[in-house]
Symmetry: C2
Subunit: 215 residues, 2 copies
């Protein structure tokens, strides 16, 4: 049965995305600190950097990194994560994700802007653009997933929309043991999530606290 | 050498005290949920409830509960934790803590109200009232602690004053795997605490995440 899954990074103080980007440093400083344990994993090095040397950590962080890529049949993301807001007037802009995006599945991009045709990419990814509710796009993505899971990829506001709507079966938060003090807050308005889901936490050698809510 | 220690409860979303008290339910619902793993420990049952049957959990939660009571030579708390705000006009009011408070040490109560004489209690606790800075009251408490540690007991705003002033050697946060969505926030304005302290996290059988910052 299809499960709806979310994987996120967060700091100890609950910031799941960072807001310190500047023109000089478009990623900011905080994002690298938030994701450093993930970036050190063998899975990240293989899957994202194309490093086939086998380098990288292989413990709990890597197990979760590998699980992120397994069993996904369709993806949902917000317009900003696709990159729609960055070049809104360029009809040929195909997003941030390069010629061969790392999804390999249908990807449903939620947007309030004018309809666009689907964009087929190399490697099995096709971007579809939808202006609809979380429940409706999830129904379509579930159909497209062919029995595999649907991942809500982000950003944080999209993830929070799905969580608040009660549509998420598994939320995995890779919690970095750092206090950022700024960014986008994950947990607001999610009171009682532990009443509908079971919580399981584990600490990796990196100090990362993996917190998983599942139902 | 004297170390300055703090023990706190917090929810996964970073609320370290609760704000849902009503006249009908003066403790509120949230406090019991935040502290339930601690209340289940053998140490709490013995030390706070006087239960000598040996009942209670004996794992990681209990180890931290026992450590809370060990090696403390003086305590610092805010006026509200003593109870000074509750009956401000009663010069005979001796606080919330009963005839024999569980401290057994000098306790320095920070207050901006008029000076009060010290209040000696049964069991070795004496309450002293001070209107001064965190650094100054800490110097006095350190002298009184006779080489043992000083605990900053609370409330959250007092704890945060000491943390922001860089005066704390050990912060232990007993993090309940619940999302409260309301209360008093612990982590604000503490960005970079992991740069001055080492962070260590462990997960108890109860699901509680024990996060300790130490230097």
């Amino acid at each position: 049965m299809t499960r709806v899954r979310i994987d996120l990074f967060a700091s100890l103080d609950g910031y799941a995305s960072t807001t310190d980007a500047t023109d000089e440093n478009p990623m900011g400083e905080d994002w690298g600190r938030l994701t450093s344990a993930y970036a050190a994993t063998r899975t990240f090095r293989q899957r994202v950097l194309g490093d086939t040397s086998g380098a990288g950590t292989t413990g709990l962080d890597d197990q979760h990194a590998a699980a992120h890529f397994e069993g996904i049949g369709a993806e949902i993301m917000g317009a900003a994560m696709f990159g729609l807001h960055s070049f809104p007037d360029d009809p040929d802009w195909k997003g941030w994700w390069g010629d061969e995006p790392p999804f390999g599945t249908p990807v449903y991009v939620l947007t309030h802007t004018a309809p666009r045709d689907p964009i087929p990419m190399q490697g099995g990814t096709t971007f579809h653009f939808r202006s609809t509710t979380p429940a409706d796009v999830l129904a379509e993505a579930t159909g497209a997933a062919g029995g595999l899971d649907v991942r809500v990829g982000g950003g944080v506001s999209t993830v929070r929309d799905f969580l608040r709507a009660g549509l998420v079966d598994e939320l995995h938060v890779m919690t970095a043991p750092i206090v950022l003090g700024r960014g986008t807050r994950l947990w607001d308005d999610l009171r009682g999530l532990e009443l509908t889901h079971t919580v399981h936490s584990e600490v990796a050698d990196s100090g990362t606290i993996h917190v998983t809510f599942s139902r």
